[in-house]
């Protein structure tokens, strides 16, 4: 009974419909997972949008784990089912290969060969016995499909072993720092379900980081020297991007995450000195930025440049903030300190480099690599080495002899027709002696009808439609994108966040990724004026409505209604200067796509702004006459 059930299950898993269904389902699921934000790689915001995008959507995400699809049970189940089918197919193919490889062909095997001819010719030899010649070419071609499917199985098994027992870890090290041989020393661990946390067998010290840069400052090459403690002492080794290092316990990799680290000391009377390495990350063109958290909610925003030869920065740009107020802004050299309110100091003690190391242990890697090799070799063999069986029988008939010539290519029989015709002619026959190639339903080959009739279902259009629908489903199903209005809202919100922060920190460089040249100049001026007056602008977006979106190829015009709260603050103390203002605007943002990014090219008021305070701060500071911001001096209305 059990055997019967197993047989039925095997027949089910081997059925063509199930196999194709499994591939379609895996393809669809993969497309879906590739199109939706996935936990572990997508941003928190995009995941939240996916999870909370309406009742139906939330339910679907929850039930089908669409936010972590590749680790969901149903995807795992589907993969297992496909693996079972694959296993059955492999067993069958191996058996067929054994039979096909050792099979002794006889002329009887060629009675229905797709290419065959029979004719009589004048006797060429004097023999009386029939001459039978059967041959096989490119027999190795039979192995292609088996190789490909075995390779797939190895990759799946390798992947499963990795998912179960493999482990990855990541850590950021500063020059001179030693990584102890413990799992806890790593900042992040990503182990398989049954995997042990990653740890090295001996301490590893990062001695130095060497980088080379292009003229524009972008990173060109990165290399680190490490010392690995061993029985015979420390052994120096090099590790570079794309060049891993095998060490006891696993392999180490170097990505391109690197930069200078600002070694900062926060000193405050009555509070223990806090030492921290702020790791500055690359933001492009040789610029590196990072943040350090100080005592009592203070934060230092640090920026530095790395020279083209990869020299350590001798100067860093510092901004210290607390509760949105700018307490200090200026440059600091190694050994210098920034004076903070309440007698505190922030000292820069050094700028060594840091680099991110990844550790990985995957004992089944060889399986996956063997699998890749077999898949590639198998697919090459399938389409280039086509096994061909041939048969020639010459039967003497006195003064004449009857010739039977046949060819059975494993696949692509029509492509061998020319060669077969040449063989027939060499044997004394002609094209007319060649039996018409038969399609499944018997129409002569070479005609459109023959190919059409080869469709057993009789519904080739239906088949094509189903196939096209499947592919459309693959593409369109998973590929649904947020609407233009949502995209516009995201762009405006991001722009406002960045520009507000730039005003708050008095840091005009922050706006580079979001504004074009024209709007950038305007903001540069507005922030500069405030800095000259020792002020920064603290703003808060209270509401944002998108009232219209027009999108052309590389331009998007977004109309909004916005409410803001503003106040100016004194640099150093954070004290509010002048009155706060609650403003309402109707705006038009003109975004232009530049090198793949939407930049704000221009911002206009579409109606007079409603500004609650009566005078702009710097005018008040200068003691100038009262001026109400209006649409004629729009640039001075504090719209970030």
């Amino acid at each position: 009974m059990l055997r019967l059930k197993a047989l039925a299950l095997r027949r089910f898993l081997r059925s063509p419909l199930v196999i194709v269904g499994e591939i379609v389902a895996i393809a669809f699921a993969t497309g879906l997972g590739a199109s939706l934000p996935q936990a572990g790689s997508a941003t928190v915001e995009s995941l939240a949008r996916l999870r909370e995008g309406g009742e139906m959507q939330s339910m679907l995400v929850r039930v089908f784990a669409l936010d972590d699809l590749f680790h969901s049970r149903w995807f795992l189940g589907l993969t297992l089912m496909a693996t079972a089918s694959l296993w059955i197919v492999i067993l069958e193919q191996v058996r067929r290969l054994r039979v096909g490889w050792t099979q002794r062909m006889t002329p009887a095997h060629f009675s229905s060969a797709p290419l065959r001819a029979q004719f009589e010719r004048p006797a060429r030899g004097g023999g009386t016995e029939p001459l039978v010649k059967v041959w096989a070419e490119k027999r190795f071609g039979l192995t292609g499909s088996v190789m490909l499917h075995v390779g797939l199985m190895l990759v799946i098994v390798g992947g499963a072993c990795r998912a179960l027992f493999g482990t990855e870890a990541v850590v950021d090290l500063v020059e001179g720092e030693t990584l102890p041989p413990t799992a806890a020393a790593w900042a992040g661990q990503f182990s398989g379900i049954l995997g042990q946390p990653f740890r090295l067998n001996s301490p590893v010290t990062m001695n130095s980081v060497k980088s080379a840069h292009y003229k524009d400052g972008d990173l060109r090459e990165l290399q680190v020297e490490v010392s690995v403690e061993g029985a015979a002492g420390a052994e120096k080794s090099q590790l570079a991007v794309n060049h891993d290092l095998k060490v006891g316990g696993g392999r180490l990799f170097l990505g391109s995450d690197f930069g200078p680290a600002a070694l900062l000391e926060w000193e405050k009377p009555g509070v223990e000195t806090k030492r921290e390495a702020a790791l500055l990350a690359g933001v492009g063109k040789g610029r590196y930025e990072g943040i350090s958290g100080g005592p009592e909610g203070m934060r230092a925003y640090v920026r530095a440049r790395v020279g083209p030869e990869g020299q350590h920065p001798s100067l860093v740009e510092l901004r210290v903030m607390k509760d949105g107020a700018l307490l200090f802004t200026g440059d600091a050299r190694v050994g210098q300190s920034a004076l903070l309110p309440d007698g505190g100091r922030l000292a820069l003690r050094g700028t060594p480099f840091w680099a991110r190391l990844r550790g990985s242990r995957d004992s089944a890697l060889w399986l996956a690599y063997a699998g890749f090799t077999l898949i590639m070799a198998g697919s090459v063999i399938i389409f280039t080495l086509i096994k061909l069986d041939g048969c020639l029988v010459i039967t003497p008939l006195g003064a004449t002899e009857r010739v039977f010539l046949a060819m059975k290519p494993q696949r692509f029989a029509p492509l061998f027709a020319e060669r077969f015709q040449r063989m027939v002619e060499e044997e004394g026959g002609s094209a007319a002696d060649i039996a018409p190639r038969k399609s499944v339903e018997g129409a002569p080959a070479g005609s459109a009808a023959s190919v059409e009739k080869a469709d057993p279902v009789g519904g080739r259009t239906a088949g094509a439609s189903v196939f096209a629908l499947l592919l459309c489903g693959l593409v369109l199903g998973p590929g649904c994108q947020p609407s233009a209005r949502e995209e516009a809202r995201g762009l405006v919100e991001h722009y406002n966040q960045v520009v507000s922060e730039a005003y708050r920190r008095g840091d005009v460089k922050l706006i580079d990724p979001v504004v074009g040249v024209k709007e950038g100049r305007k903001i540069l001026g507005l922030i500069g004026v405030r800095l000259d007056l020792g002020l920064t602008l603290d703003s808060e977006l209270l509401s944002l409505d998108i009232t219209g979106v027009e999108q052309q190829k590389d331009e998007m015009r977004v109309r909004t209604k916005e409410q803001w709260r503003y106040r100016d603050r004194k640099i150093g103390s954070g004290e509010q200067v002048g009155e706060a203002s609650k403003d309402s605007y109707e705006m038009l943002y003109v975004f232009k796509k530049t090198e793949g990014a939407w930049l704000v090219e221009e911002i206009q008021f579409t109606s007079d702004p409603k500004v609650s305070r009566k005078q702009t701060t710097w005018i008040a500071e200068r003691g100038a006459g009262h001026t109400t911001a209006n649409s004629s001096n729009k640039a001075e209305v504090q719209k970030p």
């Binding site: 993969t30 590739a34 090459e221 590639m376 029509p414 469709d455 057993p456 196939f467």
Partner: protein, 275 residues
Amino acid sequence: MSPFAWEATLHWGAVALYIGGVTLFAWALIFARPDKIRLATWTTAAGLVPHTIGLVLRYVHVGHGPYMLKYEVLSSNAWIAIVMLLIFVWRKPNWGSVALVALPVSILMMGFGLFTNPEARSLPPTLRSMWLIFHVVFNKLAVGAFILALGAAVVLLRKLKGETGRWLDRLPGADVVEAYTVRFIGFGFVFWTTTIGAGAIWANQSWGRYWGWDPIESWSLVTWLAYAILLHARLFFKLGARATAWGTIACFVLSVLTVLIFPFVFPSMHSAYFQ
């Protein structure tokens, strides 16, 4: 003249010659002038000269292969497709009609690339790998093979529609055209497989993992699976020629989306290229 002005001039020169080539192919086939096929082939081959020089100049100018910008990627894809087309037409002159699909597709790719931003971008350190060359070259070969499969599929559909004409009659029967369509798919499948394999090995060298479900990684798997579905459907269900032709076209669209469109749509580590 700036390096880009030279490159652009050479590229436009190549486009002009390719247009001349496709016109000659059309003339030869529509007006049944088989003697013009050779001329069409030579004219197209002549276009390869400025095109090749343009690509070499680009390499010298930016210091890396055609991996980064739309302009570089599309131009080199077109180059590969045209070289593959010429090799095929050289060996099978009767198949000139495939050029009527493959050449315009290649010209469109080049033209589109020429209107995009040509500003050179530096190669990040992770892209400085031997595996990148395998990954990219095999990807281009795959695109070239899929373009030829597309051309053969279009010819096959016309034949199946019962259209006749001297140039269509010069081609072999629909069963042979179908076999060639599948063979081109087969070559494309082999190249695409190698692209994925090389990418996986490279990813393992760079990050310590060979597969990370990155959106473009995943879409390339979907494309591979789509071609696998087509090949299995032919094998299991004896898919008809018309279905095979439409399947080929649909798979081509999917491969183009994966290579040229999705890197813009989905945030991916592949988004650094083709900007």
